[in-house]
């Protein structure tokens, strides 16, 4: 397309700009949460997260060093020298004042007359010099009101609190491991079962095969809401109750149609010659499956595992119905977040961190294995 004569370049720029806009629009929400999770509660409450990326104009109140301890005599006058900001902070003073009524009375470098022969001056970098005769340079430090541009200031404290603070009952550590415990068996077991079934449906001739494939396609779209009560009843009746075993079984059952569908479609596409050659080579059906089909189906297996992993990791409904009992010991991250939304609705440092802990793993998986996810989507979106 690029090679065609007479293409206008203005249109190309419009495309670039529109895509940029679209991408920003789509990334903006996640970035907001991500940035917020690194800010402390005060910062979040007083300014939007976008403000934290650049220098922020902030009004702060600082007290100079106490004259009693730090005054130095030079030429009969007593001086207190110091810095308003910590070493290394690159804040810039915009204006300052000595009274809360006029916080921006002076520009940096100007000198304020404090009476009784005392003067004070603050420069742009936040260095101050306060001086006066001996008698009046006593007591506590002088309060200064400074309007300063503060550079971004991020903290890991939220993560520390939500993940590693064992006293924090709202912490995510327990829920994180619970989610992991749910996810891994619920991803692996359906693959094993589905792989064999898919092979039978793809490469074995038997009466009723077409009917079974159609049934799988049908079950693909059955809303799992229908399964909630009957299965919960079943689990309670046969003694599984609410717990990990129940949730593993449920995820296995719910994941199977997609697994069988994806894998069958992939296996059907493998060349018939290869399978027949293996048959001529003397391989049994089991050997054909394990040594030829399974290795060749790796892309489909990977696709489905990613699907099932994301789905079980992100699931709320199945966990709520089949796993989480009254004790709440087995809560998963999604459930924990929903509960935090109810109890700590305004505490964004907690919410943002909790949410980001839960979406971090899927995001990593997503970016590492996007290729397989896309391939799976192609094959799995129902035709």
């Amino acid at each position: 397309m690029q090679n065609i004569a007479g293409n206008r370049s203005s249109l190309v720029w419009a495309v670039h700009l529109s895509v940029l806009l679209l991408v920003l629009l789509w990334v903006f929400p996640t970035v907001g949460l991500f940035v917020s999770s690194f800010r402390n509660a005060d910062q979040i409450a007083t300014s939007g997260w976008w403000a934290s990326l650049g220098k922020v104009e902030q009004n702060i109140v600082v007290r100079t060093l106490d004259p009693d301890d730090f005054r130095v005599e030079r030429n009969g006058r007593y001086f207190v020298d110091g810095k308003l900001f910590d070493q290394g902070a690159e804040a810039e003073v915009g204006a300052w004042g000595t009274s809360s009524l006029e916080i921006d009375k002076y520009q940096p470098g100007e000198e304020a007359d404090l009476g009784k022969g005392r003067t004070i001056t603050v420069d742009a970098a936040g260095n101050y010099t306060w001086s006066g005769p001996e008698a009046s340079m006593t007591g506590r430090g002088k309060r200064l009101f400074v309007t300063a541009a503060i550079p971004p200031d991020f903290t890991l404290a939220n993560y520390d609190n939500m993940l590693f603070n064992e006293d924090n009952v709202e912490g995510m550590a327990n829920a994180f491991f619970n989610t992991l415990t749910v996810t891994i068996p619920a991803t692996i077991i359906p693959i094993v079962i589905a792989a064999f079934a898919a092979y039978a449906l793809a490469w074995m001739e038997f009466p009723g095969r077409a009917l079974l494939v159609a049934a799988v396609v049908g079950l693909l779209v059955v809303p799992l809401q229908l399964a909630l009560i009957p299965l919960l009843k079943l689990h309670l009746d046969i003694g599984i109750g609410k717990g990990y075993l129940g949730v593993w079984l449920a995820h296995t059952g719910f994941g199977l149609p997609l697994a069988i569908y994806l894998l069958r479609n992939y296996m059907v596409g493998l060349p018939r010659d290869i399978i027949e050659n293996a048959r001529v080579d003397g391989a049994t059906e089991f050997q054909i499956f394990s040594r030829i089909i399974l290795p060749l189906s790796f892309p489909a297996l990977a696709s489905f595992s990613i699907f099932q992993f994301l789905w079980t990791w992100n699931d709320l409904l199945v966990a709520k119905v089949f796993l989480i009992d009254a004790s709440g010991e087995t809560t998963v991250m999604t459930n924990q977040i929903v509960e935090l939304l109810g109890t700590r609705g305004g505490n964004w440092e907690i919410l943002a961190t909790a949410a980001f802990v839960s979406i971090a793993v899927p995001l990593v998986v997503f970016f590492l294995m996007q290729r397989y996810l896309v391939r799976g989507l192609m094959a799995g979106s129902v035709k």
Partner: protein, 410 residues
């Protein structure tokens, strides 16, 4: 026992058990049940080959049967019985009770809105993104970023958007983007453009598209050239009725947009604004599903034979004609697939509503209504009845899918 250890044991037992079952069952079949020895070796091999598929399928069939097929029937049964009366058969009493509840109709109405808005918006955005990103060098990175929300849980996305919709009392600094933007409007010319004119244009466009769709559906009936059966005609008329209702709704809202009294300068609690709040919830799902639509449609766009596009260029088509007259018709099949897949997701949407508003402020949807009935009101009868309604709504897609799959098998 620690759950992680339990999990590990389950993996070993589960996977090992499955593999062991398959291996041993196979071995038994070949070596002991139908050994290929003796005089009838050939017949035994045939018999073994007839048995083997069922051996491979057995675990899957059991799991599918217990976890998907049985519940459908059981739910149907439960919806016709009453738990309080020891599961006595009560006919359609549960359905009658449900149809009498305003909350149910609110859920139905919202579900309808979701069903129209989310697939349409996701597909449209997805198509736009696919078309645009396919033409630039850094398109793959852009795609990756737009696709990313697919990996984020509905709950996580809900938190993300709650931050965007956050409202602080007047006078405090707003930390929700939407309110910051909102507070920029002061009733001047900008407000007129964005808050009156833009919604009106969108609503008009929507009404126009629906009207066009209705016309296409009804045209064969009016012109008398319809060869369709009476059943198809009935469906067409029903669809048109729905379309007319939607057009009416859109026109009504145009009036209300003009009549609306905006409270400029006051931060809004977006999730409690009746009617509009449903749209704020839909945005979350659209945000997630657009990436899906984009990826699939992008692949379809690339699958279009280059020659047809080049022929159209030689024929003098401009980029818009190229897109709407050449490309879109060729990927119509994929668009339908994307649309139905998103429709399925929308029908089952639960987490977003549950996490963001829990169905309050008139945002109820069927799946959440059902959850409410099941686990809060403990009313299994009505809960099951609503699940059956959900199943009925999925039914057309199910039938269509199965029919397609059968066609493909032949």
């Amino acid at each position: 026992m620690h759950p992680a250890l339990q999990g590990l044991i389950t993996i070993v037992l589960g996977v090992g058990g499955c593999l062991g079952y398959f291996y041993l069952a196979n071995l038994a079949l070949d070596k002991y049940i139908f050994p290929p020895r003796l005089d009838d070796a050939g017949r035994n091999i045939n018999r073994a080959n007839l048995t083997r598929p069922w051996l491979f399928l057995l675990p899957a069939l059991i799991a599918l049967g217990v976890y998907l097929a049985y519940p459908v029937i059981e739910t149907l049964r439960l919806s016709l019985t009453d738990r309080q009366l020891d599961g006595a058969f009560v006919g359609f009493a549960n359905y009658q009770q449900m149809f009498g509840e305003p909350k149910f109709w609110e859920a139905m109405r919202n579900n309808m809105l979701w069903l129209i808005v989310v697939p349409a918006a996701s597909t449209a955005f997805g198509l736009l993104a696919a078309q645009l990103t396919d033409r630039i060098g850094w398109g793959n990175i852009a795609k990756s970023l737009i696709f990313m929300p697919m990996a984020i849980s509905f709950v996580g996305a809900s938190v993300i958007f709650k931050l965007i919709y956050d409202a602080r009392p007047m006078g405090q600094a707003q930390i929700g983007v939407l309110n910051v933007v909102w507070l920029q409007f002061d009733g001047g010319i900008g407000s007129l453009l964005f808050l009156r004119l833009l919604p009106v244009i969108i609503l008009f466009a929507f009404a126009g598209i629906v009207a066009y769709a209705v016309w296409i559906v009804l045209r064969p009936i009016f012109s008398g050239s319809s060869a369709a059966g009476i059943l198809v005609k009935l469906v067409q008329v029903l669809l048109s009725g729905l379309g007319l209702y939607l057009i009416g709704l859109a026109l009504f809202n145009i009036v209300s947009v003009f009549g609306a009294d905006y409270t400029y300068g006051v931060p809004q609690n977006w999730l409690t604004l009746p009617f509009w709040n449903s749209f704020f919830l839909m945005v979350v799902l659209i945000w997630i599903q657009t990436g899906f639509a984009m990826v699939i449609l992008s692949a379809a766009l690339r699958g279009i034979p280059e020659e047809t596009i080049e022929a159209a260029i030689v024929d003098g088509a401009n980029p818009f004609q190229l897109f709407f007259r050449i490309k879109v018709p060729q990927i119509m099949g994929t668009i339908v697939v994307v649309w139905t897949t998103i429709t399925l997701t929308v029908l089952k949407v639960f987490d977003i509503v549950y996490a963001m508003s829990n169905g309050q402020w008139q945002t109820q949807v069927l799946a959440n209504y059902m959850f409410d009935k099941l686990f809060r009101a403990n009313d299994w009868g009505v809960g099951s009845a609503s699940a059956i309604i959900l199943m009925l709504m999925v039914m057309p897609i199910l039938v269509w899918n199965v029919a397609n799959a059968r066609k493909e098998m032949r």
